[in-house]
């Protein structure tokens, strides 16, 4: 049974990158984008504001609408034998079924395949929903985007859960499972999130140069 997200923050479009967080029948990656927000800085993230709605949707938006648009990106999981048809309709159907969202709550939906980089989409996003892979988390957090991660409970020792818990403990993101995502989206407060300090790969290169005896 589908239900709308109900009255809550109106996000515009959501960035959703859920690699392998969905059931094994599809394993797609889903991606949506948000309108650009202005103003970034090294301080606590501001609370979300209602974005302006595209002209085509004005007059049709109900109180329950949570997203004004959703871009779905799907790729088959790498190295697995299940045939993944990965058609737009299959991916979208799975997405809405798993999260119990109504398609009408996501506005205009478009579909893309694998991209080299999410930089442009992340730049425009107000909200990122991602699997808890290290690369996805780091990329979103470095762009100072509010991040919610969905845990893949099938991974060995669930290392994604470890990272998600630690980053949540440090105040950088929220985390959930497929089933608890709709509830979290309604209740979460992004003003409580803290900026994520950048990593220092130069320390690694300095260490390596020293131990391998590299002369300048």
């Amino acid at each position: 049974m589908l239900h709308t997200l109900g009255p809550g923050p109106a996000w515009g479009r959501a960035v959703v990158a859920l690699r392998r967080a969905l059931p094994s029948t599809t394993r797609p990656v889903l991606l949506g984008t948000l309108p650009r927000r202005s103003g970034r800085g090294r301080r606590a993230l501001p609370p979300p504001q209602a974005p302006s709605r595209p002209a085509s949707l004005r007059g049709t938006v109900s109180r329950e609408r949570a997203f004004s648009g959703l871009v779905v990106r799907a790729t088959p999981a790498v190295g697995h034998d299940d045939p993944v048809p990965c058609s737009p309709s299959l991916v979208c159907d799975t997405f809405f079924r798993v999260f119990a969202w109504s398609p009408s709550s996501c506005g205009a939906i478009s579909f893309t395949t694998y991209k080299d980089s999410l930089k442009e989409d992340l730049q425009k996003a107000d909200l990122v929903i991602s699997h808890a892979g290290a690369g996805s988390c780091l990329e979103s957090l470095e762009k100072r985007k509010p991040l919610t991660v969905v845990i893949n409970e099938k991974l060995m020792n669930n290392h994604q859960l470890e990272l998600a818990k630690q980053l949540h403990k440090d105040g950088h993101l929220f985390y959930c499972t497929c089933g608890t995502l709709p509830g979290l989206l309604q209740s979460m407060d992004f003003s409580t999130l803290k900026c994520f300090p950048l990593g220092q790969p130069e320390k690694f290169s300095a260490f390596l140069d020293k131990v391998v005896g590299l002369q300048k």
Partner: protein, 216 residues
């Protein structure tokens, strides 16, 4: 009867010799001064590749040629590596034409694969990894945890044990591993020259590891 005893004695002698050679290879060596060195990078799927490419971003051009090893089913990593090398060359137009190679070996383990079949597939990977590692003869092997790295590192170790070449093995545990090491990490903790962790909790549990802070 006599033949069996001789065979057992010979096997015992070989085992002792191998153990002694292993001890010689693994004990700390002084860094040999050099101006360049060949690098073998083990790139696993998805997040592993992203993380290891972040580590490589700051390395100087002295780390050349660079050999990348990916699983034979992993097209996404090949794509990421090619993009990385092209971007690197674009950022440094004065440098020589980038010298890098991508090699493929079968996966050691698929997600959710049973442990018994993992032993068999890892042995098969070893059968293919040793000739590849022997052909490349790198100065340094760098990896960050995919199952693919275990046969490669053991092959590199064998090169040292057999007196062919001493290869420096540097293992960087993924940032996902906050409280517990990965399976590859637990195996290679004892077999690598430098074992780098990215969270203080792991440094406390494994005092012999190297902690440089967050490096990705």
């Amino acid at each position: 009867m006599g033949g069996t005893l001789i065979l057992a004695a010979a096997a015992g002698a070989v085992a002792v010799l191998l153990a002694v050679r292993l001890w010689v290879v693994l004990r700390p060596h002084a860094a040999v001064p050099r101006r360049s060195l060949s690098l073998l990078v083990v790139a696993g799927s998805g997040g592993h590749t992203t993380e290891i490419l972040r580590l490589l971003e700051n390395l100087s051009d002295a780390y050349s040629p660079r050999h990348y090893i990916i699983a034979d089913t992993d097209e996404m990593s090949a794509h990421k590596i090619n993009s990385f090398e092209v971007n690197r060359a674009d950022r440094n137009p004065g440098a020589m034409f980038p010298e890098y190679y991508i090699h493929r070996i079968p996966r050691s383990r698929e997600v959710q694969q049973s442990w018994l079949s993992t032993v068999l597939t890892t042995l098969y990977s070893m059968w293919l990894s040793f000739p590849l590692t022997h052909r490349v003869k790198p100065d340094l092997v760098l990896c960050n945890g995919p199952g693919t790295c275990v046969p490669i590192c053991i092959s590199a170790l064998l090169l040292g044990i057999l007196g062919i070449k001493k290869v420096i093995i540097v293992y960087v545990e993924s940032i996902c591993r906050v409280e517990h090491l990965s399976l590859s990490g637990k195996i290679l903790f004892h077999l690598s020259d430098y074992f780098i962790v990215q969270w203080p909790t792991l440094k406390e549990k494994y005092p012999k590891s190297v902690y440089l802070g967050r490096i990705v």
